[in-house]
Symmetry: C2
Amino acid sequence: MKIALAQLNYSIGNFAENTLKIKQTIRRALELRAGLVVFAELALSGYPPLDLLNYEGFMEAVERHMLSIAAECKGITAIVGAPSRNEAHHGKRLFNSAWILSEGRVLQTVHKSLLPDYDVFDEPRYFEPASQCSTIEINGQRMAITICEDIWDTGRLPLYSNTPIDCLMQQSPELIINIAASPFHDLQPFKRAEVLYNQAIKLKLPIIYVNQTGANADLIFDGNSMAVDSGGHPRVQLAGFAEDLKVIEIDESWYGRPESIPPQPPDNETITWLIHDALVCGISDYFKKSGFSKAILGLSGGLDSAVVMALAATSLGSENVHAVLLPSPYSTGHSIDDAVQLAQTLGSAYDIIPISESFNSIRNSMDGILQGTVFDVTEENIQARLRGLILMAMSNKFGYILLNTSNKSESAVGYGTLYGDMCGGISVIGDVYKTRVYELARYINRDKEIIPLNTIIKPPSAELRPDQKDSDSLPDYSLLDEVLYQYIELSRDENAIISQGFEPAMVKRILRMVNANEWKRYQAPPVLRVSSKAFGQGRKMPLVAKY
Amino acid sequence: MKIALAQLNYSIGNFAENTLKIKQTIRRALELRAGLVVFAELALSGYPPLDLLNYEGFMEAVERHMLSIAAECKGITAIVGAPSRNEAHHGKRLFNSAWILSEGRVLQTVHKSLLPDYDVFDEPRYFEPASQCSTIEINGQRMAITICEDIWDTGRLPLYSNTPIDCLMQQSPELIINIAASPFHDLQPFKRAEVLYNQAIKLKLPIIYVNQTGANADLIFDGNSMAVDSGGHPRVQLAGFAEDLKVIEIDESWYGRPESIPPQPPDNETITWLIHDALVCGISDYFKKSGFSKAILGLSGGLDSAVVMALAATSLGSENVHAVLLPSPYSTGHSIDDAVQLAQTLGSAYDIIPISESFNSIRNSMDGILQGTVFDVTEENIQARLRGLILMAMSNKFGYILLNTSNKSESAVGYGTLYGDMCGGISVIGDVYKTRVYELARYINRDKEIIPLNTIIKPPSAELRPDQKDSDSLPDYSLLDEVLYQYIELSRDENAIISQGFEPAMVKRILRMVNANEWKRYQAPPVLRVSSKAFGQGRKMPLVAKY
């Protein structure tokens, strides 16, 4: 039997569009003579539908559209991920299910057993875990159908008390199918390949893995669906960050295979281009799925806004990216030149709106109140907020989405102005440490100088007071980023970080800054997630706490 | 045996302070000759500690401080809520536990069975449910110790597949103890009393219930700990929104009681004063626990900012509340008069900072860009954002926390300016519909006119263009609030709301506004939660979705 792996880009709650895509793909799979076509986890609803699942109309829409998809399944079986109802009197109202469609109807549903609720995941909020396991025969082949997390419990991270794969194996399946909505982070494609490899050689069975692709605000799905044979050897690999459809035929050559070499972790250059492609996908889908096409951003002449602008130009087309230079009394001439040069290289429109007069006017209006006080962070913030105000005015007037340009290092330590440079509809590099932003810049310049070299090599500065440098307030980024990574991505605490040889006072100072700025990040825009621990819904910290 | 119910106000992660409070209360209970003192759920850590639980140092601090509390327990047993480690090889790393301390040491831990993960709750993210149940004998009395949700599964909302109370009852306890961290909403004190009543008469046993009090950012704990006899009759009731300690002696008079009358739902006036007291508590603890004492807010002369100012004056003292009037060209004279009158009545300081010149200066700086466009929401937003900018400048310069004054109705439909009037460290009435804000104003004025009558009776207006009224853009608040309540609190969808007789086009328009403004609320300040469904962590909606 030929099996089609259908890797599509779904939109949350957009049943009409998702249904159309799924039906078209079923027809295409039929043309390719597939007997089975496999779609991703929660394909019909999009992932994650979150509290939309609490609305009765949402489930009615799922069921209505699923029936219309089933009607399409003549001469072919389809596996489509979607929620289904739990008819029992106890437990959560829904399951996270694989719907098996055949002969024009719904044949059966298979439910997810392991419901993740760490990091960005919160599935037990909605779903009851499967209480039993059973394999399914499709066209004479016995298959174990699993959903995402169900195959991830490889014994190394024993979060769960049951292992659905062990249960399914007792029924001697010939093939494992896994439908997934597995969001990207820089190591995730590797980790996923590793899980598939390990399971295949452990179970001595081929595994078909179908993921979503495309982004929904913060979460980005990288696709990279694949099928491995019983030796863990990848026999087919679908595209990264793009829709794809491939047909395989699982014959005896997929069985009894010697163990292949395990997948290797990506090198640093690979990680940079993976992040680059993820961000381009994230920007593009955020705009498309929000119904917008044009972006605006404040271009300072510094590294962060330059990288964001180049990414946006790749995602949206440089004609859809509008830069605004907002020089203050403390902006340097070379910054304006660098910014202009970038906009011109990309061929994007730009405006220059000096903020000095408005800044003075605001200070004058507060004269009686600020009298006798000295220039401090207040005046720096007024400049940053004035820029945010002007950018948002242009967004309002002309229908741009404002791109936020804060990086993860400054967001972590609160080196940014809430309602100022922290404004924006989406944070493009808010999950990218400054040291990686440099690597992104070099990657963007791999063929020619798009980002001016001067922007990359000059010392970073907010330019909010004379001769300001980031290094006046922060440790070197290389050191800062190492400590932040340990604290945020690895959840290591102060003692554990210090014990590795970092200077205790510096570690304490950095962690204090991270913790003290939780209130700012609470009001930050959604962040395109490209690490295993992004700020936002995946890192839930108390706002008022002592730690 | 005398039993002390200890209702305290804990701070998240503040082990030193929480430990000190618990120890002092143990000594006080000893003085009162209690043999047992009962503290709330997660007392030692504060609730909710969220992802702090992922840090090893956090659990080490729990254990270290718990041992020092145990050392205090000589001649008395204490039940203290705190996380504990799951030593099994499978499942989540922690339990949500009641620690039983006696004779200077930790006698035992009892774990929570039912872990809520709806609304603001997300306990399965951290905790493994108890896998067994067992009663405990303390001073010769057999007790069933339960944690919050464990007694809430009364069969009406069968979210769970097991009922720990049924299991415990097989061991014939003489008494049920429930330690809780049950956050306030307007009907919660009633619902809680109802659960205790129903369980008591069903189990024919007395129940001791100990809750937390005080607030941590959005969540407010109302206390209201109590003990009911076997007939469901409340025999002792602790304070609302304040620390309290009461000692009871459970003798035979608590047993074999006839069923008392069930608790009655609160009337509308009671709900208003409950919300009032909750908000006062919420403001007060947000400031205290953040280490701040002074608030600032923009006072428009309208209802919302007036109510927020009066609440803040009650919470923080009027000398700690600073009002700023920020008239624009479209502000009316009576608004300024009303605002001044309120500040003077309260005896709070105020400044007047006109924004017209800064507004013109910003428009001039954008002259070339805005040329040929007409005055629209952009210019309205510039005014709102200029106000936000000035208020934040004062916050930065003088160390005020800015109070946000948006109400729930406008937050729901997006009738507010992101980075403008949506600024603030905490949203005071963001969970209070406009119709209830009127009732709060009347309650605040119950003894004398604090909020000027004119502020209450004039038609609401944003005053961002000539003769603007809220009713130009929105349905009447009484109608709007009814539809919003159905959609938000009751999770009823469009069809279900329309079927009750509301005008279909209006319902569709309101729901469209709610859904289209999710991106704004994502960046809104934390909201003091006083309803069963507040915006924020308890209502998780996709940012980019079609619904």
